[in-house]
Amino acid sequence: MAQPSDRFYTKEHEWVKIDGKNAIVGITDYAQSSLGDIVYVELPKPGAALERSKPIGVVESVKAVSDIYAPVAGTVTEINAAVEDDPAKVNGDPFGDGWLVKLSGVDAADTTGLLDAAAYEELVKSL
């Protein structure tokens, strides 16, 4: 699957779509495919202040537990309740309906450590 070019990526396989001071975060198609059937997601509470690269939750498949890391710093404004109820949505549409958290207070200029779609595609191909 091609990586959407409207967002950034981390080496830990999260994506972040930044729009001004707001951002949406999820895990990539590669991440969901590697994990397999996702059965549980644990997300931060709305209002939580996230630090870049710090663990903010977990995604669990039948056999595996995987941390989610914050691609950027920001404050959680919303979590995807539909994914908490039906974690398989992350498998079904990781870049869309399977998003995990929305953030505010994001510094759009600071993309330190993030990969663009082409760089992330290269990373995935090397794995």
Binding site: D37, Y40, E60, V62, V65, E84
Partner: protein, 364 residues
């Protein structure tokens, strides 16, 4: 000891099917082909096909085999009937388990199927105690093991064998030709479903595997990996060596009282008698989690705010509507069905209830 993982005779078939391969017990094994949940579903409702060629296969023959194995193991061997299979445990002097195995009494020989991870240990145990007149062979490298498990397994296999499978009862075996391949077939398994395990020469394994994939289509057959197998066995309350049973966890602690025959002599019997008499040992309990967070091996368990033990296996159980189930090794007082416990998951305590095992029983 680090050695390159071996490949089973079906390795190329797994690659062709797009399996995720991982080292397991010294072999590169298929963990999942497409989806653990879909493979689990096929086994519970249709039929799953497993490659279990990583498991150790030891063949012993000679008049003294039964008496010898009886001395090494908790369950009875000498009383086995021709073509019977029996679950057994090789015990250490403290009553712990070297391994759990299935012993098959076949025509003129005994087959011992051991866990892949314990191949070297069991071989050493057998070699070091082998009596005069007993011949012993490790045929693992030359013999493949395929399993057909699920409510359609018997019907599918019946289309490929001459023998009448309805005459082979649960935990019995027979020599048979399967699609023209010389085989030993046994009505055994590790999923909680009906089905057969099929031993064939490694050289014939690929041909049989491909045939089963094709002929299995109308039966809803899917290849199933070790990921699904672990979920299936946990639902069915079957122990996994290294989790519910190991050198330090005895069969009594694992809830396998029925396996231990105190009216014969065997390694570790005295220790197990003492443990049975004292009855204060930690034991394996079945847990159902109340919340959505899965319990995983190693998580701490507490009762009334006090440490009570730890999770040994844990998984969502699709057969229970996705509820999270687990086994835990806990204090005796915490093991009674109905007891409320808490499992520590990432620093938070999640409620769980002790339930009788198995979690899942197949409909009759």
């Amino acid at each position: 000891m680090l050695t390159k993982p071996r490949e089973t005779a079906l390795y190329q078939a797994h690659l062709r099917l797009g399996a995720k391969m991982s080292p397991f017990g010294g072999f590169l094994m298929p963990i999942v082909y497409s989806s653990i949940l879909e493979e689990h579903d096929a086994v519970r409702h249709a039929v799953g096909l497993f490659d279990l060629s990583h498991m150790a296969q030891f063949v012993a023959s000679g008049d003294a085999v039964a008496a010898w194995l009886d001395g090494l193991s908790a369950n009875e061997v000498a009383s086995m009937r021709p073509n019977q299979a029996r679950y057994n445990i090789f015990t250490n002097t403290a009553g712990g388990a070297h391994d759990d195995v299935i012993v098959y009494r076949l025509d003129g020989r005994w087959l011992i199927v051991a866990n892949a991870a314990n191949t070297a240990k069991v071989w050493e145990l057998l070699r070091s105690s082998q009596p005069p007149g007993v011949r012993l062979e490790d045929r693992t490298a030359h013999s493949a093991l395929l399993a057909l498990q699920g409510p359609k397994a018997v019907a599918l296999l019946q289309t490929l064998v001459d023998a009448n499978l309805s005459k082979i009862r649960y935990y019995y075996a027979a020599d048979a030709a399967v699609a023209g391949v010389r085989a030993e077939i046994a009505r055994t398994g590790y999923t909680g479903e009906d089905g057969f395990e099929v031993f064939v020469p490694a050289s014939a394994a690929m041909q049989l595997w491909e045939r089963l994939l094709v002929d299995g289509r109308p039966f809803g057959l899917r290849p199933a990996g070790l990921g699904a197998r672990d979920v299936l066995r946990l639902e069915a309350g079957m122990p996994l060596y290294g989790h519910e049973l190991d050198e330090d966890i005895t069969p009594l602690q694992a809830g396998l009282q029925w396996v231990v025959k105190f009216d014969k002599q065997f390694t570790g019997k005295a220790a197990l008698e003492a443990q049975r008499t004292e009855d204060s040992y930690d034991r394996i309990a079945g847990l159902v989690m109340e919340g959505k967070a899965p319990a995983r091996a190693g998580y701490a368990v507490r009762m009334d705010g006090e440490p009570a033990g730890e999770i040994r296996s844990g998984s969502p159980a699709p057969a229970l509507g996705g509820k999270n189930v687990a086994t835990a090794l806990v204090r005796k007082a915490a093991a009674t069905p109905g007891t409320r416990l808490e499992v520590e998951i990432r620093g938070k305590y999640h409620p769980a209830t002790v339930v009788p095992m198995p979690f899942y029983k197949r409909p009759k």
